[in-house]
Amino acid sequence: MSPLVRARGLSKRFGSVAALDNVDLEIGQGRIVGLIGPNGAGKTTALKALLGLTPFEGELEVLGRDPRRHRHTVMQDVCFIADVAVLPRWLRVSQALDLTEGLHPRFNRQRAEAFLSRTSIKTRSRVRELSKGMVTQLHLALVMAIDARLLVLDEPTLGLDILFRKEFYETLLNDYFDQDRTILVTTHQVEEIEHILTDVVFINGGRIVLNETMDNIGERYAEIAVGPEQVEQARSLGPIYEHEVFGRTVFVFEGQPRERLEGLGERRVPGIADLFVAKIKGAVA
């Protein structure tokens, strides 16, 4: 099956700074991909290129179409939440439903209303009267009722408290996601999404530094806490990163066969956050 998103040599410069530097990326159907990178790494630029919101160089196909030239037809199959708190403040909940129903051919109003009925949001309320968490719920209700093939979430839970953040992703996973849908998400709160991801992409300085399925990460990467007596032995195996925790040294290895690492200590799959630090800091060192 052809991928939903296919980018070849995607580049974008702001003056002398490369926001995207020759990025190749493919996203297949039914995946939940986390796009993770430090501030200014090019995450948002990549998403905007994908959504046809910014000009770029290189080849890019979203659902087989060029988002630069066919933005509004691409948007029939793609949904995105840029920063959920930003719905127009004058909009009433009922008007939001009317609008989306009127403008989106794949919107199922009953579905959105069913979701809203589980919240304390009233249809007469205006967005300006809702709390930040409720605005998120409203936006999510709208988006989940759209039968889109690709959902793009850019920092969707920014500024929300932890209860809403957890609920947001749980709802997304339980009530929305299935084999036919694909989700691309960027966030700083990596720990909150790593258990729902199927794929993870690290981006730094406009370049992709890691692109793996979560299954492969367990195979390819290992994190081992080593006692002082074995530190030199571990270093000789070429770890990509090391740091001290409670007097032990934690090493991250990439691509080392299991048997070579045996005996050093307990092998764990590194968390996405740790792996991120290892890849980004390791690349700098």
Binding site: T44, K48, L51, L53, T54, P55, R71, H72, T73, M75, Q76, C79, F80, I81, A82, D83, V86, L87, P88, R89, W90, L91, R92, Q95, D98, L99, T100, G102, L103, H104, P105, H139
Partner: protein, 311 residues
């Protein structure tokens, strides 16, 4: 097409002033009418107060219609003035508000082209706001007719009551025509305001006003001519002289009445619609030149809306 319907409704939701402003004006005018009828306020000619009831008794027979048309015409001028202010501020905000409150990405997430968005704003300014204004004008005029007609009937003459429907029809048709040609003539102004609204990062009004003013000043300093100022002036006030005609023999005498304080003489046009004359306007190169300029400005606004990346 259904996209356009919902986009126009969106504009009415987002801009309650479109209905609120003419409704408030209508309400105030009704209040003034009631106060005048009960005698709480007085009408003056020069410095001298006029006894309305006394004056009405001196109306020439058969001229209640033209008199009402004149009164309703001044009512429609008031509505039009307010409407032009509403349209101006609406357009200045039209492509700016959702960039300012950062909801633009929500609109961009919907499968609607930026051309449709911009055209929906233009249609709101050129068609929807005038239509709303016309309806509220008609309601106000009808109620004023009922109040004043009943008051005059109470004073002993049913002429106003009888002439009212014809006068309402005449003035409503005339206003409809006036709003239509005004929208056509103002297309380049609408386009310019949309362009300023799509362009400005802040202070939209300044972006809309300063460039033409600067051009006028530069032309005046460099060439010592005032071509741009004349073109702009003609664009702002030039449509009604082209679209209407008025000859002295259209006027009839409505009222001539001597009071101890002074004389009162009123003439009015017998049938406002007889002034309608689209030929001169339709033959005017200014109309079509305006369309071309408007198309360029609107294309610029669409381009900015589509390709500008601000966040």
């Amino acid at each position: 097409m259904s996209n356009m319907t919902i986009l126009l409704r969106r504009e009415l939701w987002a801009n309650p002033a479109i209905t609120a402003a003419p409704a408030i004006i209508g309400g105030l005018l009704l209040l003034l009418t009631i106060l005048a009828v009960v005698g709480a306020i007085s009408v003056s000619v020069g410095d001298d107060p006029v006894d309305i009831v006394e004056a009405i008794k001196h109306i020439e027979p058969g001229t209640a219609g033209p008199l009402m048309q004149m009164a309703l015409a001044s009512l429609s001028v008031t509505f039009n003035t307010v409407m032009i202010l509403v349209i101006t501020f609406y357009l200045l905000d039209a492509l700016y508000a959702d960039r300012k409150d950062r909801s633009i990405l929500f609109w961009k997430s919907l499968p609607v082209s930026d051309t449709q968005i911009v055209l929906s704003k233009l249609a709101t300014a050129a068609l929807v706001i005038p239509a709303v204004t016309l309806v509220i004008y008609l309601i106000t005029a009808f109620v004023i007719y009922l109040i004043s007609g009943s008051a005059v009937a109470f004073a002993g003459s049913t002429e106003v009551l009888a002439a009212g429907p014809g006068a309402l029809l005449e003035t409503t048709l005339t206003l409809f025509y006036a709003l239509l040609v005004q929208s056509l003539w103002y297309m380049p102004i609408f386009g310019w305001l949309l362009l300023a609204s799509a362009w400005a990062k802040r202070a939209v009004l300044l972006w809309a006003v300063l460039p033409p003013v600067a051009l006028m000043l530069i032309e005046d300093m460099v060439f010592r001519t005032t071509t741009i100022a004349q073109l702009l002036g003609e664009r702002v006030v030039g449509v009604f002289p082209l679209a209407f005609r008025h000859r002295g023999d259209m006027d009839i005498r409505v009222l001539e009445h001597s009071t101890p304080d002074g004389d009162l003489r009123i003439t009015a046009i017998d049938g406002l619609t007889s002034m309608i004359q689209p030929g001169t306007l339709l033959a005017s190169p200014g109309l079509y030149g305006g369309f071309v300029v408007a198309a360029i400005f609107i294309a610029g606004a669409i381009w900015l809306r589509r390709y500008r990346d601000e966040s």
